[in-house]
């Protein structure tokens, strides 16, 4: 049980792929202009990550060490193709708006990183859970960033969510406030950099607070530093 709990903590918070490892920043920065896009890409990455972790873990004892990276990449590429075809079939609008970033999931270093660092050394069920948690951590950051940018940029939340979730989701759209001018910077890539920076800063602040609350170290009173030379 404790292993699962560690994996959960690692993936979602302590070793979050986006906030701590800073992996997979290209899709993170490029497609998080709305919650819908962020959620779509987050789900796709999550599926690929779980699938590739399971497969890598199954074949881990048969893959020669020297060619493991090409094998992992091929497995990942296979899953990306599956996800891409699925999105093409069922969420065509989202497929179009995400564009090149769906095939680019292959190059997302968060995925090959987990395959190499965890799945190739651990049994199947743990690897699957690790993939799930890492994917979840990545997706949460994507969605939060997407929400920030959508809110500041165009004043809405869940705009065009029907592209991902079907026609009923049109009613999800919330217009928080309405302004005549979009705040373009939040929608453009610089806004993603600023937003990610603020998120990382917020995480560091929270971590520091947790740390200061948990450990109140009874540090020994330090005496004044001994003077070697006198300045009088």
């Amino acid at each position: 049980m404790s292993e699962l709990k560690t994996l959960y903590k690692e993936g979602v918070w302590v070793n979050n792929p986006a906030l701590v490892q800073l992996l997979g920043l290209c899709p993170l920065l490029a497609v998080t202009s709305t919650i819908t896009n962020a959620l779509g890409l987050g789900l796709a990455t999550l599926l690929v990550l779980v699938g590739s972790n399971i497969s890598v873990s199954i074949v881990r004892n048969w893959v020669p060490k020297d060619i493991r990276i090409p094998v992992f990449v091929m497995i990942i590429a296979g899953f990306v193709t599956i996800v891409q075809l699925l999105m093409n079939a069922y969420t065509y609008g989202l497929y179009q708006s995400l564009g090149i970033f769906i095939p680019l999931i292959v190059t997302n270093c968060a995925i090959i990183g987990r395959a190499e660092a965890y799945a190739s050394k651990n049994p199947v069920h743990l690897s699957a859970f690790d993939g799930l948690m890492m994917g979840l951590g990545f997706m949460i950051v994507l969605v939060v960033l997407g929400a920030m940018r959508e809110l500041i940029g165009q004043g809405t939340l869940f705009d065009s969510a029907d592209l991902l979730l079907g026609p009923w989701a049109q009613s999800l759209r919330i217009e928080v406030f309405n302004f005549d001018n979009q705040f373009l910077l939040a929608i453009l890539p610089p806004g993603a950099f600023l937003g990610l920076g603020l998120l990382i800063a917020a995480k560091n602040v929270i971590d520091a607070q947790i740390k200061s609350k948990r450990v109140a170290p009874p540090e020994a009173e330090k005496g004044p530093r001994a003077r070697v030379t006198s300045l009088t």
Partner: protein, 352 residues
């Protein structure tokens, strides 16, 4: 008796940060007066808005950082940022434009990096670029010189335009900007660029009524005002001569080469030096002691590269002016420039 050992240099210049900042603000006055004369009192409204906004934001962020408020406020750097920002945005831009600019410059560009002395970028210019990228329409709606206005507008109407988007008789900013022929007029830099794009020569373009014989009507005097203020700063030894001189020289050389190469499509040296934000950039923005290069040789390189970039972006870029972009790009390069231009320490290394 307690004697403290301070590190060198031991000579004291008697110039506190506050005093320096106030001198720089005072040196902005000629340029400010020229802007008010030619573009209306909207500049003053923006100035008041900006001063109030930066004071509030600086105080708030200092409280959040649990630092004393008054020392940070009274060094005057935030007010200088406010003055520079108010001078660089269009005088009749809506009120929220400058508020967002002040928020960004103080909170994100300056204080999140650690406050005065730690900011990598010039706060006023970073905010200007943010506003220009985010609100291109508002940030390019410069009024033509007041003499050319079809509907002259007074102080109250300017106040109404800034806060409600409409004058008392219901004109919007676009209608106010329109000339007698109903065509809105762009800034001189924009006009030249557009006209050259349409196949006119510069000489033909400069027949238009936004120009006098050398440069843009009004803009020329604004630039001369900043030049006067800059010379005062040099005389007071608030800034070194290296950055402004190399900036202006480099821009002059580049535009002269351009003019010799293509006299029909290049407006030439005098126009470049007296247009847009050239003089303000050279004396007030590029010389920011925090974000500029710190060695004398480095300052020459820094200024010259800004001049080159200003010319390139003005000539080939898509934005109305280039000073802000050029300064920000060179701010990034400052650590590199400083690294390679360290002066020889006395007694160390060989004289070449």
């Amino acid at each position: 008796m307690k004697l403290t050992m301070a590190s060198s240099p031991h000579n004291h210049s008697h110039k506190s940060v506050t005093r320096l900042m106030l001198i720089v603000i005072a040196a902005c006055i000629p340029g400010l007066v020229a802007q008010v004369v030619f573009f209306g009192t909207g500049v003053l409204i923006q100035l008041v808005l900006a001063l109030v906004a930066v004071t509030v934001f600086e105080a708030a962020i200092m409280l959040m950082r649990k630092r004393p408020v008054w020392p940070a406020l009274s060094d005057g750097s935030a007010w200088l940022t406010a003055v520079l920002l108010a001078l660089s945005i269009p005088p009749l831009a809506p009120w929220w434009v400058i508020i967002i600019g002040c928020l960004f410059s103080i909170v994100i560009v300056k204080q999140l990096y650690g406050g005065l002395g730690f900011n990598l970028f010039n706060p006023a210019m970073a905010a200007y670029v943010l506003l220009l990228v985010s609100f291109p329409v508002q940030m390019t709606s410069w009024l033509p010189v007041s003499d050319l206005l079809n509907n002259a507008i007074g102080f109250t109407d300017q106040l109404r335009l800034i806060f409600t988007d409409f004058t008392s008789i219901g004109y919007s900013l676009d209608q106010v900007r329109a000339g007698i022929d109903g065509v809105t007029m762009a800034t001189p830099l924009d006009t030249i660029k557009t006209d050259v794009g349409h196949g006119l020569t510069v000489t033909e373009s400069m027949q238009k009524n936004v120009f006098n014989e050398w440069a843009g009507l009004g803009w020329m005097w604004v630039n001369l005002g900043f030049l006067a203020g800059g010379l005062y700063l040099l005389k007071e030894k608030v800034i070194n001569w290296h950055i402004p001189v190399s900036f202006i020289a480099s821009l002059a050389v580049c535009s002269a080469i351009g003019y010799i190469a293509a006299p029909g499509t290049e407006p030439g040296t005098v126009f470049h030096l007296l247009s847009g934000a050239t003089m303000m950039g050279a004396f007030f923005i590029a010389t920011d002691p925090v974000s500029a290069a710190t060695t004398n040789k480095g300052r020459l390189i820094y200024g010259a590269l800004i001049g080159l970039l200003v010319y390139l972006i003005r000539t080939f870029g898509g934005f109305p002016d280039a000073v802000a972009f050029a300064v920000l790009l060179l701010n990034i390069a400052v650590p590199l420039i400083d690294y390679y231009t360290q002066p020889r320490t006395y007694g160390h290394g060989a004289v070449k």
